[in-house]
Subunit: 218 residues, 2 copies
C-alpha cells in the first residue's frame, strides 16, 4: 500500500475504534452482551451458532446479525433452525463490518429485552480482525480442514480473539491436523486465548463452549 | 463505508487496474504466462500447486510467489516439494496483492528464461478478487469442506475467475456438498467459468486441469 492509502486507512481505523468503544459502552449500559464471531468462509460459523443459540435461547433474548457480501441463506437458516430473530447485513462488497454498520443494524432489531447480540462476521481471516465491531467478546473459529498452520499466516485474527474454537473435529481422521501444535501456534499469537475443540455435527464440546460464553456474560 | 473511503478506494482500484494492464502486457511480451491462484485459507492451494508444478516443470521454467500476511511455510514447502524457485511475499497486513507488489516481487526472481509465473494469493475470498494482479489467468479454488453455497456469498471471486477448481473431493463422503448445485451457482456468477473437480491427495482430476492451463498458455 502506498503512503496515502496507509494514512487514510489509519484514520478510518482510528475513527472506527472510537465508534466501537462508544458502542461497546452503550450496549453494556443497556445490558446487552455482544459477541463477534469470525472465521474463514466455510469454517462452520452458522452451524456452530445454531447449536450455541439453541442452548442459550431459553436463558437469553438473542438477536443475530448475519454479515455477508451477498446472499441471505445464513439469516434464513438461523431463523429457521433456532427461531430467534436474525437479520442479514450486506456489506456492499466490503470484507468486514465496521462498528457503525453494526450500530445501524442494531436499530433494525425489534427484540424485547434483547440481552445477547451475536454477529456472524464476513467469512475472512484478515479484514474483520482489523475492524473492532464494538463487541464484548471476539470468538474465532478454525476448522480442521483448513489446517493447523493458520495462526502462523493470519496473526491478527488470533491476537484479537479471546476465544478460539477448533471446529469440525469429527473430520480429524480425514485430515492431517495437529491439535497440540495448533494450540501452541494460537498461544504464540495470544497467550491468554481460551481454546475450545468442538464438533457441531457430533455435538462434542458444545457444552464447555456455552459455559465459557456464559462466564464472560456474568 | 463512508463516501470518502469509497472514493479513495475507487482511485486505488483504478490505479491498480492500470498498473495491472501494463504488467500483463509486459509479461506477455517477455513470454511469461502469469497465473493468479485464489481461495479461502486452507482450501488446498499449496497442495494443489505442488501437484500442478510437478507436472508442468519439465516443460516450463516456473517461478512461484507465495503471498501471506506472515510466515514463510508455503514458500519453503513449494521449494522443498517441487524444486522450483519460490519466494515469500509479505503483504504488511493487507488482505491482497496489488499489481505493483507483484511487479516488485518479480524483480527478485532469478530464473533463467522464466515462462510460467504462479502467484498463490492471500487466503481470502474477498479482497484478492478486487485487485487485478496483472495475471493472464485467475484460478480460484473452492474446497468441499467449505460448502457449496460460497458462490452465493462471494460473487466477485467467482466472477473474476476463468477457472474454478473444486478441491478435496476425496472428502465428499464426510461433507454435504452438492457438486451439481455448486456448478450452477458458479455459472450464475460467471457463465463462462470452466469448472474442474480434483483431489490433490488422491491425484484425481489433476491431468485435466494441467491440460486446461496449458491450453490457455498456448
Amino acid at each position: 500500500m502506498d503512503i496515502r492509502t496507509v494514512t487514510v486507512k489509519e484514520n478510518i481505523l482510528i475513527e472506527n475504534n472510537q465508534k466501537a468503544e462508544e458502542l461497546r459502552k452503550n450496549l453494556q449500559e443497556k445490558g446487552i452482551f455482544f459477541i463477534n464471531v469470525m472465521a474463514s468462509p466455510g469454517a462452520g460459523k452458522t452451524t456452530l451458532l445454531v447449536e450455541l443459540i439453541n442452548r442459550l435461547k431459553t436463558k437469553y433474548n438473542i438477536g443475530v446479525m448475519e454479515a455477508d457480501i451477498d446472499g441471505d441463506v445464513d439469516a434464513e437458516r438461523i431463523s429457521k433452525l433456532t427461531g430467534v430473530k436474525s437479520i442479514q447485513v450486506h456489506t456492499s462488497g466490503a470484507c468486514h463490518l465496521t462498528a457503525q454498520m453494526v450500530e445501524d443494524a442494531i436499530n433494525e432489531f425489534n427484540v424485547k429485552d434483547l440481552n445477547l447480540l451475536i454477529l456472524e462476521n464476513v467469512g475472512n481471516l484478515v479484514c474483520p480482525a482489523e475492524f473492532d465491531t464494538g463487541s464484548h467478546l471476539n470468538m474465532m473459529l478454525l476448522s480442521v480442514p483448513e489446517g493447523y498452520d493458520k495462526p502462523l499466516k493470519y496473526p491478527l485474527m488470533f491476537q484479537v480473539s479471546q476465544i478460539a474454537v477448533i471446529t469440525k473435529i469429527d473430520t480429524l481422521p480425514v485430515f492431517k491436523f495437529d491439535i497440540e501444535l495448533c494450540k501452541q501456534y494460537i498461544h504464540r499469537r495470544n497467550k491468554d486465548a481460551e481454546i475450545y475443540v468442538v464438533s457441531a455435527l457430533k455435538q462434542q464440546g458444545i457444552g464447555e463452549l456455552v459455559k465459557a460464553i456464559e462466564k464472560r456474560m456474568a
